[in-house]
């Protein structure tokens, strides 16, 4: 009777893993060569375009919003997933439809800049394809989460390469968020902004670190994660990357204020920099609706008055919607629910069209 059908007797000491090597191979020689190869590999990879190049340039259709997050594996987290922000501006713009659209003669480009309220909002889809004065409006959502003026200015600086005709910038006086990762990842763009528009370098020195040359494999890693997310996870789950949403719901990381990066502090230099970047392209500043229960009411009034005064002086268009939406139109202190969004769209779209259609 063969009862060993389950397990055959095997030799416990069955190690047979020794590699068949040439005699004379020196271990430390191998280690040195391996280290040199690794450094060479990293240097070579660092010369290649930023992460997302192959995914968004070669494989993927362009997106109508920035791909903010990529899901990756994290055994410590509740569902085993973690989300990692995509900070690299080049990757963000490469993934966006604005980088692939050639601009025909009769196209009027409207770019929407701002934080997560812009990124999540739908106003751009309503403005898109509207006609006025023989022009077709094309609207581009370039919102990226995080209440940070410097972040928005850096994105705008890069977006100017795509010849926008109208810049719509949603601003809000709110507790600013520390976007250290964003600033550190894009320190080249930050440096350019500081140097070109004479911003105070002391405020940003900690982010102006020299780029690490040894980081090529990070590009490969992020590229691979992007492929896994956008080629597999998204289509498999109906295109919404709802896995990322579930992981985001678990996110409990706190956000720390960074006053100098917000809209409240250094408003004057922010506006001057904006004008410099826009180079005559019309700008519509929208002071976003806010719920009545937020704190800093007095500072909020000061902010609105200051931005109103500066916009008049600098001939910027300013639409003040701070008290447009009632409290029940908000999900939290910043984001609006569908009813709130509808109110916002109804107020903002006519202002946008007035500027767009008023252009000759």
């Amino acid at each position: 009777m063969d009862l060993s059908g389950f397990l055959v007797l095997s030799d416990m000491d069955n190690y047979s893993g020794s590699a068949k090597l040439n005699r004379g191979v020196k271990p430390f020689g191998v280690i040195w060569k391996a280290l040199l190869l690794f450094v060479a590999f990293e240097l070579l990879l660092s010369l290649f375009p930023g992460p997302g190049y192959f995914v968004f340039k070669q494989f993927m259709p362009k997106l109508d919003k920035f791909p903010i997050y990529v899901v990756n594996y994290d055994p410590q987290s509740k569902h085993g997933f973690d989300v990692q922000n995509i900070f690299d501006i080049n990757t963000l713009l490469l993934s966006h439809i604005i980088s692939s659209d050639r601009k025909p003669q009769n196209q009027y480009r409207v770019v929407f800049i701002g934080d997560s309220t812009v990124n999540r909002g739908d106003i751009y889809s309503i403005v898109d394809q509207q006609h006025c004065d023989g022009k077709i409006l094309h609207a581009y959502n370039l919102g990226y989460p995080g209440v940070s003026a410097i972040k928005d200015l850096m994105i705008l600086q890069e977006a100017m390469k795509y010849a926008p005709d109208l810049i719509v910038w949603s601003v809000t006086y709110s507790i600013s968020q520390k976007l250290e990762g964003f600033l550190l990842t894009n320190s080249d763009q930050l440096k350019q902004l500081i140097n070109t528009y004479h911003l105070s370098p002391a405020d940003y020195n900690s982010y102006l670190k020299p780029q690490s040359v040894i980081g090529g494999s990070n590009k490969i890693r992020l590229e691979t994660y992007l492929i896994l997310n956008y080629v597999i996870l998204n289509p498999a789950t109906g295109g919404k990357n709802s896995v990322a949403q579930i992981a985001l719901n678990d996110e409990t990381g706190s956000r720390q204020p960074l006053d100098t990066s917000g809209y409240g502090g250094q408003l004057y230099s922010t506006i001057q920099t904006l004008k410099g970047i826009a180079k005559g392209v019309p700008v519509l500043l929208i002071d976003e609706p806010r719920p009545s229960f937020i704190v800093d009411q007095e500072e909020d009034v000061q902010f609105r008055n200051a931005i109103l005064s500066l916009s008049r002086k600098d001939q910027l268009n300013f639409l003040d919607l701070w008290n447009l939406v009632p409290d029940q139109g908000f999900l939290d202190r910043i984001h609006r629910n569908p009813e709130g969004e509808m109110l916002f769209d109804r107020a903002a779209i006519p202002a946008i069209l007035e500027i767009a259609c008023g252009q000759k």
Partner: protein, 470 residues
């Protein structure tokens, strides 16, 4: 373990492996430190200290229960006692050193720790005196280990305990929802039970405290195996294998391959592996199969990667640890799969459950052969399932394999001498082999549904989607 932790351990192994004197004690000190260092964070911080202390305590007490009389002398063991005492105290003293990158600084008070260590020492001393006349203590020890094991692996029980601790400590009751994680206990339990059983059957070699504790908490294999045997391990502990140039290369290759398998391949596959989160959202059978296959390869690369790292580290220390995997997904039947997957675990179960149980059934009532085979295979695989976790899902996973093994056993009997002639030709055998590999791989892969998904309901939903029935 993280890559950084593994890198540190590689450097340590390189140093320890070169020691000609004091190697055993140095290895003991490092292994004891690693037990504290790698203990995961717990909802109650004191457990981060007391669980490793419990690990060392159980190990020392089990040595006291199983040690041969000639190895119990103070002269032979004082250094090991001193080292274990010293490591525990040193970790406790981090409340003053505050090296928080290494270990937490919120350790218990020194007084409490000293009292506990002294109590453990006294208990050990008493056991070494009484063990001779109370072999029942060994049986009690076996049962105690099993009870602790069941407790740790049953979520409902650990949740109750954590909820109780939460109320006693007046901490946030949400802490009760967090799992209790006793580093390495699954493997610790098997090593201890092996020594107790071998002592009972008179097969255990005589080992000192240092040798015994080194075997149980050997740091390369502490968290994820392989499960070695004391008699084999202690030979290499006493006379380490020489480390020539080719052995260096071999060890380095195993380490590199292991790290690549675990931190590159397995972690990337983890993003697209089937999970509770993905199952309800996946649209289409094709995607579902992709995610399931991804999991199938992920668990292999993850586990075999850790084994490669353990074997590589062991080699640097002068040990030749047993292999755990031998291309399991390329085996043409389930029997061969289980002779190639987590081999040290199946060998343990063969020695301490399957064989004794089979002998007992054969010597008892006159059961027919196929009933004996069915009962022994099914019960063994269910126990292996329960070793992973006490829940219905793991029972189903074990039963899936138990039934599969039985079917293969009966099928092999049935087709013996019945296969058509073409299957005996070269091409025929290749074709049969390929077909067998395909069937076996897919059978094992489907079984992973029960292993990785948290409830039978989700596993069933996934199964329906896989075959287009949902």
């Amino acid at each position: 373990m993280t890559i950084l932790q593994i890198s540190i351990l590689v450097v340590v192994a390189l140093i320890l492996g070169r020691l000609s004197k004091g190697r055993q004690l140095a290895l003991l000190a490092v292994s004891a430190f690693v037990v504290f260092w790698l203990q995961p964070t717990e909802p109650f911080v004191s457990l981060v200290f007391w669980l490793p202390v419990a690990t060392l305590t159980i190990t020392v007490l089990t040595w006291a229960l199983t040690s041969a009389p000639e190895t119990r002398g103070w002269k032979q063991n004082w250094s090991a006692v001193g080292i274990l005492f010293g490591v525990a105290l040193l970790m406790d003293l981090n409340r003053y050193f505050k090296l928080t990158q290494v270990y937490m600084s919120t350790t218990p008070s020194l007084t409490l720790t000293l009292i506990a260590l002294i109590a453990i020492a006294v208990a050990t001393l008493l056991l070494t005196r009484w063990q001779r006349s109370h072999p029942a203590l060994q049986i009690l020890a076996l049962l105690a280990i099993i009870v602790i094991f069941i407790f740790l692996k049953t979520p409902q029980l650990t949740n109750m305990a954590l909820a109780y601790l939460s109320s006693v400590h007046e901490q946030n009751s949400n802490a009760a929802g967090v799992a209790l994680s006793w580093l390495g206990f699954s493997y610790l339990a098997f090593r201890l039970m092996h020594t107790i059983r071998d002592r009972q059957s008179g097969r255990l070699p005589a080992v000192t405290l240092a040798e015994y504790v080194n075997y149980v908490i050997f740091f390369p294999a502490f968290t994820a195996g392989p499960i070695d045997r004391l008699e084999r391990f202690v030979k290499e502990l006493r006379t380490p294998l020489p480390l020539g140039d080719e052995d260096w290369i071999d060890a380095g290759t195993r380490l590199f391959v292991g790290l690549f398998k675990k931190f590159v391949v397995a972690d990337l596959l983890a993003v697209i592996s089937i999970s509770d989160v993905l199952v309800p959202q996946v649209k289409g059978a094709g995607w579902m199969w992709l995610f399931l296959y991804a999991y199938s390869f992920r668990i292999y690369f993850d586990f075999s990667g850790y084994t490669d790292v353990a074997i590589g580290l062991g080699r640097l220390l002068g040990f030749r640890l047993p292999e755990n995997f031998a291309a399991p997904y390329l085996k043409p039947n389930l029997t061969q799969f289980w002779n190639s997957w987590h081999m040290t675990l199946t060998q343990w179960f063969r020695s301490y459950f399957f064989n004794p149980f089979t002998r007992a059934l054969r010597s008892g009532k006159q059961l027919s052969i196929w009933i004996i085979i069915f009962v022994t295979q099914l019960s063994t695989m269910i126990l292996i399932g329960l070793w992973h976790g006490v829940s219905l899902n793991f029972v189903l996973w074990g039963a899936w394999h138990g039934v599969g093994l039985f079917i293969h056993n009966r099928w092999s009997e049935f087709v013996r001498n019945r296969l058509p002639a073409w299957t005996q030709s070269g091409r025929g055998q290749i074709a049969m082999n390929a077909f067998g590999v395909f069937i076996t791989f897919n059978y094992v892969t489907l079984g992973w549904l029960f292993f990785t998904l948290s409830t039978p309901a989700i596993a069933w939903q996934a199964m329906m989607k896989l075959f287009g029935l949902a």
